[in-house]
């Protein structure tokens, strides 16, 4: 009797184990193509090696639309992973249509598209059929033409924006020239006064041109991430030292506080310098009457970035302006900005530099309570591109 019971128990255990094993194997069963990718087809290893040497993003897709091989540039641009469906990570319909077209037998297909966010990139793609080890694949070659497109657009934008902003000081300049040549010809006092105004206007035009040029320069490189190591605390000190004369004139102090654990960041030093400079300039220009300026350097909550914040105790900014502050030539108070030598480009420059660094800008402000501008820059990692 006990023997019988033992036998039945063993049989039950064996059955249960078998069922569990079955469930596991069913769960793990990969689709045939994924299995093929795990045990690479003959020739795919060599192809991967060749793709790796190509400068442009290139992916090889099998008949089920899965990635059979890719290079690092493709992984960076499209998130493609070997064995996974390409369409799941890179959703551009025109490119997917071109790939399908080639899979259905076309000799080649092309697609041109732009990726609007986070930084606009323009891509020209070419797809062609390839046969490896008797199997048919599609090779998609993605050529990044962002730099070319940017150069073209930069010219158009520069003319449109700059001419509008430059016309105001120019109109005033030519008005005074006419007055000096005409009615005020024999009035040395008036002429002297007018020349001073003209000088101020000419300086304003120069500042505008400087800002426009640096904005264009940054934009041109915006899609290339900087790889150097930079120290935000040192940068903040340099900027505050350089701004000392302006601070003295305004009668305010700037206090720098570096929190423990603030790590170096990945960035181009001169561009980060420009960020700190623009933020501190703004604090002096628009928030200086309220008292001192605080500059804080601290690690972000998740530790992935180091932050630099500039706080002032000025009049603050109304809520509806905040989302639009980084638009070019957007000003909260046109007259005040012009009077204090603002070009309307300072925060636009900050935004573009941050885009390039994959950083972030946070603006906290309330009317009557001052403003706080905080930039977050990813911390430096050796070997990060």
């Amino acid at each position: 009797m006990t023997l019988w019971l033992a036998l039945v128990l063993i049989a039950l255990v064996a059955l249960a184990a078998g069922a569990a094993g079955y469930a596991l194997s069913r769960r793990r069963a990969s689709p045939p193509a994924a299995a093929a990718a795990q045990a690479p087809q003959a020739g795919l290893a060599e192809i991967t090696a060749v793709l790796q040497a190509l400068p442009h993003a290139t992916v090889l897709l099998d008949e089920t639309g899965r990635v059979a091989a890719k290079n690092a540039a493709a992984a960076e641009l499209t998130g493609a992973a070997v064995g996974k469906p390409f369409a799941a990570s890179f959703r551009v319909p025109d490119l997917l249509a071109a790939i399908e077209h080639v899979r259905d037998g076309a000799e080649s297909a092309e697609a041109a598209f732009t990726l609007p966010v986070p930084v606009e990139r323009s891509i020209e793609a070419r797809v062609a059929p390839v046969e490896v080890g008797g199997r048919r694949y599609q090779l998609a070659f993605l050529h990044d033409i962002t730099a070319m497109v940017r150069v073209e657009r930069m010219r158009a934008d520069f003319v449109a924006n700059a001419s509008h902003e430059l016309r105001t000081p120019l109109t005033s300049l030519s008005g005074f020239i006419e007055t000096i040549l005409g009615p005020a010809r024999d009035d040395p006092d008036a002429t002297g006064r007018f020349l001073e105004i003209m000088q101020a206007q000419a300086q304003r035009m120069r500042r505008l041109i400087d800002d426009l040029l640096s904005l264009s320069r940054i934009e041109l490189n915006e899609h290339v991430r900087p790889a150097a190591k930079a120290d935000l605390a040192g940068i903040a000190r340099d900027v505050v030292d350089a701004a000392q004369p302006a601070l003295n004139r305004a009668g305010i102090k700037a206090v720098i506080d570096v929190a423990e654990g603030a790590r170096p960041v990945t960035g181009a030093r001169d561009e980060l310098l420009q960020i700190a400079q623009n933020l501190i300039d703004n604090a002096v220009k628009y928030g200086g009457e309220g008292g001192d300026i605080e500059v804080n350097i601290f690690p972000s909550a998740d530790g992935a970035a180091t932050a630099l914040s500039v706080s002032d105790k000025g009049p603050g900014i109304a809520r509806e302006h905040i989302p639009r502050l980084t638009e070019r030539f957007y000003r909260v108070d046109d007259a005040m900005s012009r009077e204090r030598g603002g070009t309307g480009l300072g925060l636009a420059i900050v935004k573009h530099i941050l885009n390039r660094h994959r950083g972030r800008l946070e603006i906290e402000s309330e009317p009557g309570r001052g403003s706080k501008f905080t930039v977050f820059i990813p911390v430096w990692q050796p070997g990060a591109a």
């Binding site: 689709p31 799941a88 990570s89 319909p93 399908e100 966010v117 905040i322 639009r324 638009e327």
Partner: protein, 238 residues
């Protein structure tokens, strides 16, 4: 990609999420094209975008078919069931985004017949913000990443703030010069459509969170849309 016979259950599940990603890609391209058509006054592009909404509807039907088949034949449980159900829900949300984008393209056609206005600048920015939310949430879906989905869910406030700012600006223009009313009304609807599209992105984020965690997002989402009560005093406008 959906035409291929997939034999295994895993393959079917993978195919349905690839279809969702693909459908999202078409909606992204549609919204991007509609915004470009508005910004560059490109009526031909607007026409193409209106046409491409069909593809979204087509993909929605494909996903529905795939989901019904999985539910009927495989009787999924746990994460597989969540994947199937969220695919259905997300495809509904994407379909709505597609409709809103198509409506923007239609309005672009009308606006392009009028004189160029600088007012579209703020809308283009808002459109970009909206696109980056949609891209982030679809990326989160592809990666089954609940944290990124949460980030999208929280960031919707930025779109709402832009919407408020544009709403006020357009209201002021209309009061200053009644001749701009018809144009500004179209722009207001464009802004409203973008704001709605942003809301659909947060709905998708909720689904992605549910898919990854098996639970719903608990807290209340921050709400920044105050236009229901926004008005511009007449003295200030004149």
């Amino acid at each position: 990609m959906s035409e291929h016979t997939v034999k295994s259950y895993e393959g079917e599940l993978e195919a349905i999420s690839t279809s969702v990603a693909q459908m999202g890609g078409v909606a992204e391209a549609l919204l991007q094209g509609a915004i470009d058509a508005l910004q560059r006054r490109d009526s031909a592009l607007a026409d193409r975008m209106i046409e491409s909404d069909r593809r979204i509807d087509e993909l929605e039907r494909v996903i529905e078919g795939q989901a019904v088949k999985i539910l009927a034949l495989r009787q999924p449980v746990g994460v597989d069931l969540r994947l199937t159900v969220t695919a259905l829900r997300i495809s509904n949300e994407i379909e709505r985004i597609g409709d809103l984008a198509k409506n923007i393209a239609k309005r672009a056609l009308v606006l392009n017949r009028e004189n160029p206005v600088r007012l579209t600048q703020g809308l283009v920015r808002m459109g970009r913000e909206c696109l980056s939310q949609i891209k982030a949430v679809l990326d989160a879906y592809a990666a089954r990443d609940a944290e990124s989905a949460m980030a999208v869910w929280r960031r919707d406030e930025e779109i709402d703030e832009l919407y408020n700012s544009i709403f006020r600006e357009l209201l002021t223009y209309m009061m200053e010069d009644p001749r701009t009313i018809s144009l500004a009304t179209h722009l207001l609807f464009v802004a409203k459509n973008l704001e709605r599209a942003g809301d659909h992105a947060t709905n998708i984020a909720e689904q992605v969170y549910y898919l990854a965690k098996g639970a719903y997002i608990g807290e209340d989402r921050p709400k920044g849309d105050a236009t229901a009560s926004a008005s511009v005093p007449y003295e200030q406008a004149s």
